[in-house]
Every structure is written in C-alpha cells, then in structure tokens.
Amino acid sequence: MKMVTAIIKPFRLDDVRDALSEIGVKGMTVTEVKGFGRQKGHTELYRGAEYVVDLIPKVKIEVAVSSDILDQVVEVICGAARTEKIGDGKLFVSDLEKIVRIRTGEVDDDAI
C-alpha cells in the first residue's frame, strides 16, 4: 500500500476529487498548507510598510491506495491538478506498512 501525497493549487481541489472519484477512489484527507518554491508570492502594503508574502496557500491531499492502482492515481491527480503554470505543486509517493479502518478494525487493503 502506498500513500500518495500531493500539494496542489487550492482551486483545483474539486477537479482532483472528482477525477479520483471517477476511478473509484472515494477517500482522501485534505489539509490547508502553505508552499514555498519557485512561484512568486505577492506584496502587501500597510501604511507604507511593505511585506512580501512568499508562503502561498496550497492544499495537501493524502490518498492511501493499494499498490496496484498507484500509477493510475498518480496520473489522474497530476492530470486534474495541472494548469501548466508555475506552482502547480508536487506529488510524493511513500510506502505504507499498515492501514487500519478504526471503526471496524479491518486492516490494509480492506481498510482503504
């Protein structure tokens, strides 16, 4: 089982969720984060005091998947999140050793 973690532009969240639903992935966890990278932030100005904001609002989605659909999931997320402008974000894949559904105690692939 793998954990797919993607940092995306917030307004793409709905598209990504819909795309994942279409391929049958029905669960995910979403976190509001701030990203720092190549994408330029903006400047704020308060009574002449300038303030460069380079932490840009992003959304992190975490999807636990069974290994066999990993590639499809990665592809779908990237497709739905891509705007082709700087700051589209990153996707990370890491290994999961165990998954438990807390309600039932089911584990691993059954728990997804």
């Binding site: 704020e44 100005l45 009574r47 002449g48 005091a49 303030y51």
Partner: protein
C-alpha cells in the same frame, strides 16, 4: 467645545447668581448633548478599540481592547473625582493655569444645575468622553509590548497632569483661552496632546522585537474598518456636539466634519494610488482619521470649502509624515498615532487661522483679529501643547516605570501578550 461659548461659560460661572439668572433648560439642546455624549463614548468603546485592535497581531488583540476599556473606566472615576473640577471650573487666582477644587467629586453638581441651556451633569459627561478618548489614543504608540499595570498608571497620571491642565488652558478659561487661541473641538487638547505623548512613549519604551525588518501585518482589517466607521459617525458628537447646542453652528460643524473626513480619505487613497499603483482600505480609513483629526480644531470656525481644503491637506501631509516617522526615523509608533493625530492636529490648528476668516468662507475671526495675528496665537498654542505634552509625558513614563518595567520581556512579546497578561485568547474559531 465652542471656544467663545465655553470661555463665556467659564467666565459667567464666576458670578452665577447674576449672569445665569435667566438660564433655562432647552430640551432640544439637551437632547442633542445627551446624544453627542453617547456618540463620543461610542468613538472609544468600541470604535477606537476596534480600529486599533485590528491593526495588531492576533496574539495581542485583547491587550489593545483591554487597554482602551480599562482607561475608559478609570478615567471616568478620575474625571468625576478631580478632573472635571480642575479642568473646567474656575481656578480663582490660578485660573490661568488650572481650575478650582471646589467641584472635586462634583460636590456642587445637582440634578438641576445648568451649564448654559442644558444640565451640568450632561456637561460633565460630555467632557468626560473627551477625557476618555485622549489617553486611549496614546496607546497606539506603544502597542504590542507594554505592561498593562504600568500602562494604566501612566495613562492616569497623564490624564491628570497633562490632559487636565491643557484642557483648562484652552476650554477652561486659562491662558490660551485668554489669548484667543482657537481650538473648537480638540486639535491641540486632544490630538496634538495625544500624538506627542504617543511619540515620546514609543521612543522611551523602544521598538517591538523585529521592527522594522519583520513584517507585522494587521491581523484583521475588517475590524479596523468597523472601528474606523464608528469613529466617523461618533465624531459628529465630538465636533457638532462641541457646538453645545442643536442649532446652525452644530449643523455647520457636522457638515465640515463630514467633508474633512471624506476629503482626507480621498487624498490619502490618491497618494497611495499614485505612489504604489493601488489604493488600500487601510490607507483610505487612515486618511479619514487624519481628515477628522485635522478638521477638529477648525470644525466650528470654517465653511465647507475650507473643510475640503483642510481635509485634502490632511490626507497628503499625514501620509508623508507616516512614511517619515517609520522609514526615516525608524521610530516604532506602532499604530502611527503621532503622524496621524499629532501632525493632523497641528496642521488643522494652524490652518484654522486662515480658513476661519470670513474672507475664506469661515465664520469669522474675533473682532479686530487678522489672519496673521491669529496665526501667531495658533502657533503659540501648538508649541505650548507640544512642549508641555512632550516633557511631561517623558517624566511620567519614567515615573510609571519605577514600580515595574513598562516593557514586556522578549519571550513574553514572542508568546503574545493576551496569554501572558490576561490568560485569554482573542479567537478560538
């Protein structure tokens, strides 16, 4: 506080039995003075408190609210106990400098006492709201780093030793009133006075950790906006209430006050638009406050066109003053009290000399007075207020710091004063 009128009231009060003989209550005036009192209190609570509190970081929001509120409460008692009597009653042989002690604890004020056409209780209350807002204005100078207890001590000492005498000089029949100094609703008494004190306090207490490298953006501009609007509407009580009657003078004061606010806003926003490419909400409301502070001393004396010119000047001058204090002098007057109120009050007090003249659409200078002559008087009043407030504020800050440090520790500042000083947090959304 209608300069001529209140001077007259004070003079008259010396021989009440004779001259007040025909004083009668006017219910229309009373209704308006009651309303004005409500409006000026509303300016501080919640107006100024919200205006200021929105500008600090979220971890210090309650400290600002607390300071405004506690000052309002303590100043009210102090005013009733000593302030009113010392500021606005006859001081006998000392009257040039300070009022009398006979009305300590409002000893002679009854339900039926009149001050002109309305009850003395209302006069006490109306003037109290000015004694509340003036020290509350100062806290913007040292926000986000000052110990509550020392701050409160300083505020009360300042009220008694700075506000009360200056108020007496100008509105209580003191030496500035004698000279014909024109300050309708508090350009010197309130705005210069508070602005200078804030500047001195900002310097004495020192910069916030991280200033000016680190950004300290306002945590809630919608709160600041709300407070600003409350200041605008409340200011009608401040200025039009200072006509002390519901008449044409009040009407004209309201009109010019409004135009000062609108013009100040537009001017500041335009300067921003030209210099930075964008006007801002914080800019436009700051321009409004600058416009209001600046029209205040002039508000019973000038006409609509004078008010527009005064307001526009305020927006431009206070904008550049703000830049200068911050960027040239690196003084951490956190909420820009001096460049907005101090400089605005100064500007308005001086401009009054000209725009009060009937030839420039004003209500007219005192008989026989010229613009030049009046200007000299205005300069004297301004300088006196500057110097007195500056020196005394410095002394009182040192005195207040004796018991405990005025300044919070670095760690406390980092953690946020709401938790450290009050065991509370502003938001838990």
């Amino acid at each position: 506080m209608g300069w001529l009128k209140s001077a007259a009231i004070v003079l008259l009060s010396l021989t009440p039995s004779v001259l007040w003989a025909e004083d009668t209550l006017d219910k229309g005036d009373t209704a308006w003075m009651l309303t004005s009192t409500v409006l000026v209190l509303f300016m501080t609570l919640p107006g100024l408190a919200l205006f200021y509190a929105g500008l600090v970081r979220g971890k210090n929001v309650l400290t600002v609210l607390m300071q405004c509120f506690a000052i309002a409460c303590c100043a009210s008692l102090l005013w009733v106990a000593f302030g009113y009597s010392l500021a606005l009653t006859d001081g006998g042989s000392m009257n040039k400098f300070i009022g009398g002690t006979a009305d300590f604890f409002l000893a002679s004020v009854t339900q039926d006492s009149l001050s002109g056409t309305y009850p003395t209780t209302v006069f006490v209350m109306f003037q109290m709201t000015f004694a509340i807002i003036t020290p509350a204005l100062i806290i913007g100078g040292f926000a986000e780093r000052t110990r509550f207890s020392s701050m409160l001590l300083f505020s009360m000492l300042w009220l008694l030793f700075v506000y009360v005498p200056v108020c007496h000089w100008v509105w209580g029949g003191g030496w500035l009133a004698d000279m014909g100094f024109m300050d309708f609703a508090g350009g010197a008494v309130v705005h210069i006075n508070a602005g200078v004190a804030a500047l001195v306090a900002a310097i004495v207490i020192g910069k916030r950790r991280g200033f000016p490298q680190q950004a300290m953006p306002p945590h809630n501009l919608t709160m600041t906006f709300t407070g600003a609007c409350m200041l605008w509407v409340g200011w009608f009580g401040f200025n039009a209430g200072s006509a002390l009657a519901a008449d044409g003078a009040a009407g004209m004061a309201m009109l010019v006050t409004h135009l000062g606010a609108a013009s100040g806003s537009i001017a500041w926003a335009l300067v921003e638009w030209i210099r930075h490419g964008k006007p801002s909400v914080l800019g436009i409301v700051t321009g409004m406050v600058a416009g209001l502070g600046t029209i205040t001393p002039a508000s019973g004396f000038v006409g609509p066109m004078g008010a527009i010119i005064i307001g526009l000047s305020a927006g431009v001058v206070c904008y550049f003053a703000t830049q200068m204090i911050k960027q040239r002098f690196h003084i951490d007057d956190s909420l820009d009290v001096f460049p907005v109120h101090g400089v605005g009050g100064l500007l308005g007090t001086l401009m009054t000399a000209f725009f009060a003249s009937a030839s420039l659409g004003g209500m007219g200078l005192a008989e026989g007075q010229t613009m030049g002559g009046q200007f000299v008087v205005q300069v004297i009043g301004v300088v006196a207020t500057f110097v007195y407030s500056g020196v005394m504020s410095y002394v009182l800050l040192k005195v207040s710091g004796i018991a405990g440090s005025l300044r919070m520790d670095v760690d406390e500042e980092t953690e946020g004063l709401d938790i450290v000083l009050h065991d509370e947090r502003g938001y838990d959304l």
